[in-house]
């Protein structure tokens, strides 16, 4: 196995990791801070992709159309996030997390059908936006420039979330709430509103990553079921609620899958769950996570 083939496989792992990070970072927020096992995050991602497609098709602005569509879709998903959190999850914080889990499970069922009703069943596709159509040659191998766009977007999101979580007052509150919810509430901080904003932020990220996934692959029913379990793997491996953890987690899952495909294709998926189980057994709170108080 010559170096450049390995390098190329490594880069394809990076591409997958960057998309996974986009989706998983939203989940890490809701899962990490709100401790909600949010199965609906995958559905918000799928809905985001379909909404982006419709806005993109509606606007049909030549070059910049796709970026505007993705941005607007993220806002739309934020709105939907408010509705879900405010009307459904907020009433359940007092009750056990199993009920919250079941609500997100019910949302998966509802959103799947909404997409079926709204967009029918066709698999849609958004062509790759102008500057990122072709490929860039890297060590002699073509590397799709759109993957660079996804990686750049991932980095931008990392910086934004890092700034938000570690450099702002809201960030301090979020980290405190992740660690000890009652204490933060005791300090008089309106926890319900904080949780709404975190869930909305998570939903917007899901919408954004859905939009970005459009040109990357196909927009089709079943996207949600397929990505959500991998996202759980990423968040669990990295550590719940820890940003660097999610970054590392998506890198690990991306590479395990890429090299799994190359060497033992039929076990590639199994490797991911083996790593997830191993991390949970050895260090339940993940590589960068903190043990629960």
């Amino acid at each position: 196995m010559s170096f450049d083939i390995l390098f190329n496989q490594f880069m394809s792992g990076i591409a997958r990791a960057s998309l996974l990070f986009l989706v998983a970072s939203g989940l890490s927020l809701t899962f990490g801070v709100l401790r909600v096992l949010n199965f609906a995050h995958g559905s918000l991602y799928m809905l985001g992709a379909f909404v982006t497609y419709s806005i993109w098709k509606g606007l049909l602005i030549p070059v910049v159309g796709f970026y505007i569509a993705t941005f607007l879709a993220a806002l739309v998903m934020g709105g939907i996030g408010i509705i879900i959190e405010f009307f459904l999850l907020r009433r359940l914080y007092a009750r056990g997390w199993p009920e919250q889990l079941l609500v997100t499970y019910a949302l998966v069922l509802i959103i799947t059908d909404l997409v079926k009703l709204g967009w029918g069943g066709e698999f849609l596709s958004i062509p790759r936006p102008v500057p990122f159509k072709g490929a860039v040659s890297l060590f002699g191998f073509p590397f799709p420039s759109y993957n660079f766009f996804v990686i750049l977007l991932g980095l931008a999101l990392v910086i934004f979330l890092w700034w938000l979580v570690y450099r702002t007052r809201i960030g301090d509150i979020i980290r405190a709430a992740a660690h000890d919810r009652e204490m933060v509430a005791a300090l008089g901080i309106p926890i319900p509103w904080l949780f709404t904003w975190i869930f909305v932020l998570g939903a917007m990220i899901a919408g954004l990553s859905g939009g970005v996934a459009g040109p990357y692959g196909a927009i089709a029913l079943g996207m949600d079921i397929e990505i959500i379990v991998e996202c759980f793997a990423v968040v669990v491996i990295g550590g719940m609620g820890s940003l660097p953890g999610t970054l590392l987690g998506s890198f690990i899952v991306g590479q395990v899958y890429a090299f799994g495909i190359m060497f033992k294709p039929e076990l590639a998926l199994a490797f991911i769950f083996m790593v997830m189980a191993a991390v949970l057994i050895i260090r339940p709170w993940g590589i960068f996570g903190r043990p629960e108080r």
């Binding site: 083939i5 190329n8 496989q9 880069m11 394809s12 792992g13 591409a15 997958r16 998309l19 079926k116 009703l117 029918g120 069943g121 066709e122 698999f123 849609l124 596709s125 062509p127 790759r128 159509k133 072709g134 490929a135 191998f141 073509p142 590397f143 799709p144 420039s145 759109y146 993957n147 996934a213 040109p215 990357y216 692959g217 196909a218 089709a220 029913l221 079943g222 996207m223 397929e226 990505i227 899958y257 890429a258 495909i261 190359m262 294709p265 039929e266 590639a268 998926l269």
Partner: protein
């Protein structure tokens, strides 16, 4: 606590008894069409003879990648049924279509077939979409002795390995389709020796791969398969597979990817200049529609007969009808489902009854003029000599999407498994015929 538990139980027992009884008697209103299908013209109320209607159970998979194909198939069936009823039905008996969804799940499929047979008392079945569900369903409807025409699930397992007399296949099976596609690929790239393959990892993909391997070694004795990629169906990220294939630098690549998977694969492969290597896959109408400008020209496609693959007069007439009803071009799923209804009509009229055993006898050897030209049902394994199509993707000014050029139409009987080899397989799988 005790009194309320009693209350709950009474309600529970009552629901156990009463609700199903009410269900059983009350005729459920005819299944609502999927939301998108527009209202049909009201069939002319002909004083049908007092015979009760012939009931066709259309059982497809409205989940995941199959959702869209199933919708097209239902449209094809409805158009055929309305035409037949407009001309007085089959032997004067009205044709009722009942739609059911398997959710692409084996147990739901098996149960819905039982529902159609036991509750709706259907005479015939058509569907499903997924091969796995088709195989599981076959065990059930064969036990209840009801004929199923399969127009989409095309695994060869239905008519060969797990053959039962209650199956009729009018979609080219995986063996025929892959063999025809391999010949086309070989004709286009005769010098190719080193091959790579990428097939969805389930019944359908594995059968197409096996047939490709058998045919290519016959056509190119020293052919070599360097890499077999097996993405899971519904895979959305093929990057790792693409780079792994290109690392082997094959002369040509064969694939049975279809639908959303093929769309995602194509878009992710294009930047890697993957399509410089000769490549053949199921580039049928829905995929070409979705890809639009991204469809790779010069790449080869194979399919089962949508309008542009076989533009004969009967097909063009069907295109107008379909455009009027659905506002879109008919894909191969609508075409084959439409043919399925007419095949049943022909067999019932030949048998002069809708009774299963008689219709099976009538079906064996029957031939009809379908949208895809004339084909016959082989008595041995009820496989239709239906054509397989291949072509090369190219622009066409007449359509807003790309279609095929230098189309080859391979009649079924040139590529289907010979009767001896069918019997050989039956010895192994224990089918007695």
């Amino acid at each position: 606590m005790k009194r309320i538990a009693v209350l709950i139980t009474i309600v529970f027992v009552l629901s156990l008894l009463v609700v199903p009884m009410v269900m059983a008697q009350a005729k459920p209103t005819p299944a609502k069409e999927p939301a998108k299908a527009p209202a049909q013209a009201k069939p002319v109320a002909k004083p049908a003879a007092p015979k009760e209607p012939i009931k066709l159970g259309a059982i497809y998979c409205f989940a995941g990648p199959c959702y869209m194909y199933s919708e097209s198939a239902i449209n094809g069936i409805r158009i055929a049924a309305d035409e037949i009823n407009a001309k007085g039905g089959i032997m004067g008996r009205k044709l009722d279509v009942i739609v059911r969804d398997t959710e692409m799940k084996v147990d739901v499929g098996a149960r819905e077939v039982k529902d159609l047979i036991l509750r709706e008392k259907v005479n015939f079945l058509e569907g499903p979409c997924s091969s796995g569900v088709g195989l599981a369903m076959q065990v059930v409807h064969s036990e209840y002795k009801v004929i199923r025409v399969t127009t989409m699930a095309n695994t060869e397992g239905q008519v060969v390995d797990k053959f039962t007399p209650y199956i009729v296949q009018i979609v080219p099976n995986t063996y025929m389709e892959a063999k025809a596609a391999t010949r086309y690929l070989h004709k286009k790239v005769p010098t190719a020796k080193k091959f790579a393959t990428i097939n969805p990892d389930y019944e359908f993909g594995r059968r197409e791969f096996a047939a490709f391997k058998e045919e290519i070694t016959k056509l190119v004795p020293d052919a070599e398969i360097l890499y077999e990629a097996w993405p899971k169906p519904g895979e959305k990220d093929f990057t790792a597979f693409i780079t792994a294939i290109m690392a082997k630098k094959p002369d040509a690549v064969h694939s049975s990817l279809f639908g959303g998977d093929l769309v995602a694969f194509t878009k992710q492969a294009a930047p890697y200049e993957f399509f410089k290597t000769p490549f053949i896959a199921l580039y049928d109408l829905p995929v070409l529609l979705a890809l639009g400008p991204d469809a790779p020209e010069g790449t080869f496609g194979f399919g089962r007969g949508c309008f542009f693959m076989d533009p004969n007069p009967k097909m063009l007439e069907f295109v107008d009808k379909y455009k009027k009803v659905r506002g879109a071009y008919p894909d191969s799923w609508a075409v084959q489902a439409y043919d399925g209804v007419y095949l049943l009509k022909a067999a019932v009229e030949k048998a002069k009854t809708s009774e299963t055993e008689a219709v099976i006898k009538a079906m064996e050897g029957i031939s009809i003029d379908s949208l895809r030209g004339r084909f016959t049902i082989r008595p041995l394994d009820h496989m239709g000599s239906v054509p397989c199509y291949q072509g090369t993707i190219a622009k066409d000014p007449a359509y807003p999407f790309k279609i095929w050029k230098d189309i080859s139409r391979v009649p079924g009987d040139q590529v289907w498994r010979s009767e001896e080899s069918v019997r050989e397989v039956w010895k192994k799988t224990g089918v007695v015929r």
